[in-house]
Symmetry: C2
Subunit: 229 residues, 2 copies
Amino acid sequence: MAAKRSGAQGKRPRRITEGLQPVHEPRSEPPLSRERIVATAVELLDAQGVDGLTMRRLADRLGSGVMSLYWHVDNKEDVFDLALDSVLEYRGPPQIAQDWRGEVVHMLEDWRASMLRHPWSASLLPRRALGPNILSRLELLSKTLSRAGVAEADVNVAIWSLWNYVMGATITRASFDLSDDDRAAGHQRLTRLSERYPTIERSRLLLDNDWDGAFRKGLGFLLDGLSPR
Amino acid sequence: MAAKRSGAQGKRPRRITEGLQPVHEPRSEPPLSRERIVATAVELLDAQGVDGLTMRRLADRLGSGVMSLYWHVDNKEDVFDLALDSVLEYRGPPQIAQDWRGEVVHMLEDWRASMLRHPWSASLLPRRALGPNILSRLELLSKTLSRAGVAEADVNVAIWSLWNYVMGATITRASFDLSDDDRAAGHQRLTRLSERYPTIERSRLLLDNDWDGAFRKGLGFLLDGLSPR
DNA sequence: ACTGAGGCTCGTACACGGTACGAGTCGGCA
DNA sequence: TGCCGACTCGTACCGTGTACGAGCCTCAGT
């Protein structure tokens, strides 16, 4: 009973025949591999959204049979997990020496930006297991806040607060600009109901488009609250 | 070409035959209606989660044919929207006269509690249109913050910050206690990788179970930052 | 040179899912 | 009586994830 894969063994130990390509077969595709599958899944997700990712479509794009994927990957959930983590790497702060606030803000804005570049990732993240790239970011956050002098007992709360803020902001943002139809419909419903919700209508709460500015400003407020007194 | 429904006309103008039940038919179910469908959908979602809601299952539970649902409801998305909003009603602060912070905290904790009572709602909310009950909550928030003296230019940012915080916290919480399996697996992976993430390991970031306390405390920090100086 | 064992690919099949279509029922009114 | 509109539902279609097992192709051991 062939071993079947057991979690992470789609690795590529074969392909000893390095330099010589198979003569027949019109070039076509390089061999299947976990990495290639994940990369293609990200492409597909970017292009078609969460519902656009289908094992069949994925296989098509890879030029392989559907069931071949399952040799390298446990199931569709696995594909999501891998795609997600692959998109959340952090390369660290830009140059040398910033104050702790600058460092935190940079990492969180980068986090948000990464997720918005792949809008499907935002809504996926909170449901899935924490991959290594996410843990690294949390680790960094933890270290920075401790160094900044946040009380030992408050660090965890601070981390989760920042996490919550970033997740909420990004998920909301990502799902809002998906469809202009929804936006138009919402707009219409809004003006129709403006007498029911006068305050949010007057302040144009739902029409403000400066998401980036609002994110930065709100993050500022939160950090004000978190700063050691 | 029978009118078909057009969005909100599954209302019940028939049933003129009030007091007299149909003689044959062994009692069985009351007639189908939008309200009954939504209520049953919520039951199903509570019991089986987002993936557990199936038009077929829903119809089974209602004792009707699958396609009958589509007379009262546009499609499955519609069911989600209706179920979601039906679960988010706010009944207002407990008694009389609180300070603005107390009012805000009460409303947001109630919001969170409502969503945690129906864990599927948290992950659905940010993707779906804003229903009337949600808008009411935002309206209340807006009024309260203005009354509290938050600068005109900051009110919207404050609202979104609170929204983000609540959404992030609730979604995270709701998806975390779904499966003990995941939790166990994560725990194991964590201790295995503890040398890679020493700080979050030492602070037991991922093992702390006091979600409610953390929510309240973090909300306090955020409100500190938002308070008019 | 032959054989057998994996590593890997893939076609077929199944059990579901949402929903289009159109036929059927019933009650009230002309 | 005939019709019409509100409502119900069976059937059918197509698209989904994935179990199963048959088929490679390469290499190790003989």
